[in-house]
């Protein structure tokens, strides 16, 4: 009932940040979607704008932390080159590409995941900036609000692709 150092970091990258990302997305999306003049009084806008800011900034920060930890902490363990005759279970990439039945977990899933994940922080940061910049005025900028909602969803899609493949790759060849 103990986690190795690698399992701990993989857990932080995938599960802890993943759960926080989902939480921030849910709050931020609901806030952006319902931020319409016909739904809210001026007091209502003022009351929910700080929460929207926390949700969008939180999602951007978590997105950056997730990709940085994933790229600089977990990924080097995944792609490490095994010495001659080593047990490949300690070298996930090599283990996956050693068999034609599992090679696509690297050649397709990991190759897509490691790149597309980085879209999430770019998009989420633009959204967080829009919310921070306009504040309570965002309710009167339906064009910006719609664009921010679209980018917010696309950030979630990018992170979702990465998260789903990350979970499946970990099942096939865990970093441990």
């Amino acid at each position: 009932m103990a986690l190795t150092d690698r399992e701990g970091w993989a857990l932080i990258h995938g599960l802890v940040f993943g759960a926080l990302f989902l939480l921030a997305f849910g709050g931020g999306f609901a806030g952006l979607w319902s931020l319409r003049e016909k739904f809210l009084t001026a007091e209502g806008v003022a009351e929910r704008t700080p929460r929207l800011l926390i949700g969008t900034v939180g999602m951007a920060v978590i997105a950056w932390l997730t990709v940085i930890v994933g790229t600089w902490v977990v990924y080097p363990w995944y792609r490490a080159v095994p010495p001659e005759g080593a047990d490949l279970t300690d070298y996930p990439k090599s283990l996956l590409i050693a068999s034609p039945t599992t090679a696509d977990w690297h050649n397709f899933a990991m190759e897509w995941k490691e790149h597309v994940a980085w879209f999430a922080p770019f998009l989420a940061t633009a959204v967080a900036f829009a919310v921070a910049y306009y504040g309570v005025q965002l309710v009167r900028r339906s064009d910006v609000r719609r664009a921010a909602t679209t980018f917010f969803i696309l950030a979630f899609v990018a992170a979702g692709i990465a998260g789903l493949f990350g979970a499946l790759i970990t099942k096939a060849a865990p970093v441990a």
């Binding site: 980085w118 770019f122 910049y133 064009d143």
Partner: protein, 119 residues
């Protein structure tokens, strides 16, 4: 590209700059991936972790993501400076951002970038 601010709100130039920068950074990452597959940008060049001591064992992915992050910050900074205090055609700016982003998604899709694999 300038127009009138809507409903006495702040001008949208800086926000349009951020959206275009995010799309352009995604496109830049896709383009770098393709250039790497085609061996126009080598894996050794893109291994910023090794070349500049930014981490260990990350390989070419380090250069790809650092360069695309630089693109994000640079375009945001430049357009944000040019468009500060200005109202721009936000629909057109967002459409451009979406086109960049769509290209980024396409170019980072393995069956697509594998088409550019150097023989």
């Amino acid at each position: 590209m300038s127009s009138q601010p809507a409903n006495d709100t702040k001008p949208n130039g800086p926000v349009a700059a951020a959206f275009i920068a995010a799309g352009a950074a995604s496109f830049a990452l896709g383009l770098i991936v393709v250039l790497n597959e085609a061996k126009i940008l080598s894996g050794a060049f893109l291994d910023f972790a090794k070349n500049y001591g930014i981490g260990s064992g990350v390989g070419p992915l380090s250069g790809k993501v650092i360069l695309s992050t630089i693109v994000f910050l640079a375009i945001w900074g430049i357009l944000g400076f040019i468009w500060r205090g200005k109202e721009v055609n936000f629909g057109r700016a967002f459409a451009a951002a979406l086109v960049f982003l769509a290209l980024g998604f396409v170019l980072t899709f393995p069956p697509v970038f594998d088409l550019f694999l150097a023989k």
